[in-house]
Symmetry: C2
Subunit: 248 residues, 2 copies
């Protein structure tokens, strides 16, 4: 293949509905009026990949081998960019993508950039995510590099967040909203104005219970970054994709 | 690879929102409570594939080479089933999939089976689709084999249907609904009780304007068939997937 196609490989299925939402976000972000103006995607969505949070905090099997198979499958099929539609999976990407010859657009880095801009504008940011993402501190570390200290839920609140995430994964959106609403209310009393919804199951549920608190959705941030990056790549702008490469 | 994975290759992107909806239908049809219980999918969604209706009725470029590339890419990546998330594209599949060593689950055949059951129960069925699908008569032929004569829109109504489809592809859902509502009302006056929404852009818009007319959605029919077929394949039931194979 000589011509650049800009084919974007999406590693998804963690969970499936989150990948559906991410795919919808990319379609919406492209602002295209004809089929042919949308971004080309190849979406790997094998939900049998081991649970990422269990692997971090519960001693469960590691998702690294399947993440690596996914990346290699997508690259072999022509993907020129990779994006992983799961926040917690990012904990494993340094290992899973080692040597994979295609740049990653990182949810963590793109979202931390966005959060940094919000914090600079005076917003106070809390992070809601799985136990695994919280324990790994990938978001907290990326935010700290930008001078942002995120508010974290208390242990009791974090258990409610996990109930919300599991409810959303099972399609019990009412239960999920009931678990999350008091957490958001409590964060708001602590001065939080933005919740970083750092698990793909959360933005949809939080939208219903956030009230005046703004929801920062890494999937939407990443979808917009993909569209920008794709335009730069195809138009051959100097440094196109360089930001993406550097951020792996 | 020795173990059967049941990986389903989806040829999509025609248009992208329709593939998003199909993916959501498959997730919903699986009725799974955990990520790991969902179907494994690999979704090829390159919207640059030439317009299918233009190729049939407008002298536009053929989508066959890209459909073939999509199928070969998915099979090389391990797909053991193929499904094409575009009704009009089915006109080209005999040619595009010739020699591809993996069975196709056909939207047309699965939907014609469902329509045949509805007609046998006394329902009167109309078909709404692109100019290309209508001119190709793929649905009419499949229905006729089951003894069903579908009501077709008048030429003026068909122009309104195409306005509705183009509006939906461009995200102008209000315009699309305004174009389709009088068509559905007219069909209802002619005794129609079920509209076969034989273009992936239609079911979402029709749901808002159908009133008492039932919408038969080939994507939802295919999603349920995939879930049944997948369960049979993995549990090694005799003849698993045979119906799918025979229907190519």
């Amino acid at each position: 293949m000589t011509a650049r196609t800009g084919l974007i490989g999406v590693i998804g299925g963690m969970g499936p509905l989150a990948t559906v939402d991410f795919y919808r976000s990319v379609v919406a972000a492209s602002g295209a009026a004809r089929d042919q103006d949308h971004l080309p995607l190849l979406i790997w969505a094998d939900p049998r990949i081991p649970d990422r949070s269990d692997a971090i905090v519960g001693g469960g099997p590691t998702p690294v081998p399947m993440l690596r198979v996914a990346a290699e499958t997508l690259v072999a099929a022509g993907a020129e960019r990779l994006v992983v539609a799961c926040n917690t999976a990012h904990v494993f990407l340094d290992e899973a993508l080692a040597g994979v010859p295609v740049p990653l657009l990182s949810l963590i880095e793109e979202t931390a950039d966005a959060a940094g801009r919000l914090a600079a504008a005076g917003e106070r940011i809390a992070i809601l995510c799985t136990d695994g993402t919280l324990a790994s501190a990938v978001y907290q570390d990326a935010l700290e590099l930008r001078g942002v200290v995120a508010v974290e839920p208390t242990p009791a609140e974090q258990r409610a967040v996990m109930r919300g995430i599991r409810g959303a994964k099972a399609g019990a959106l009412g239960d999920a909203a009931a678990a999350l609403a008091p957490v958001v209310a409590s964060l708001r009393r602590r001065g939080v104005t933005v919740v970083l919804a750092a698990c793909t199951e959360l933005p949809g549920v939080l939208a219903a219970v956030a009230g005046q608190v703004r929801v920062l959705d890494p999937m939407a941030v990443a979808a917009e970054a993909l569209v920008r990056d794709h335009a730069a790549l195809l138009h051959g702008e100097p440094g196109a994709g360089a930001g993406v490469v550097a951020k792996k």
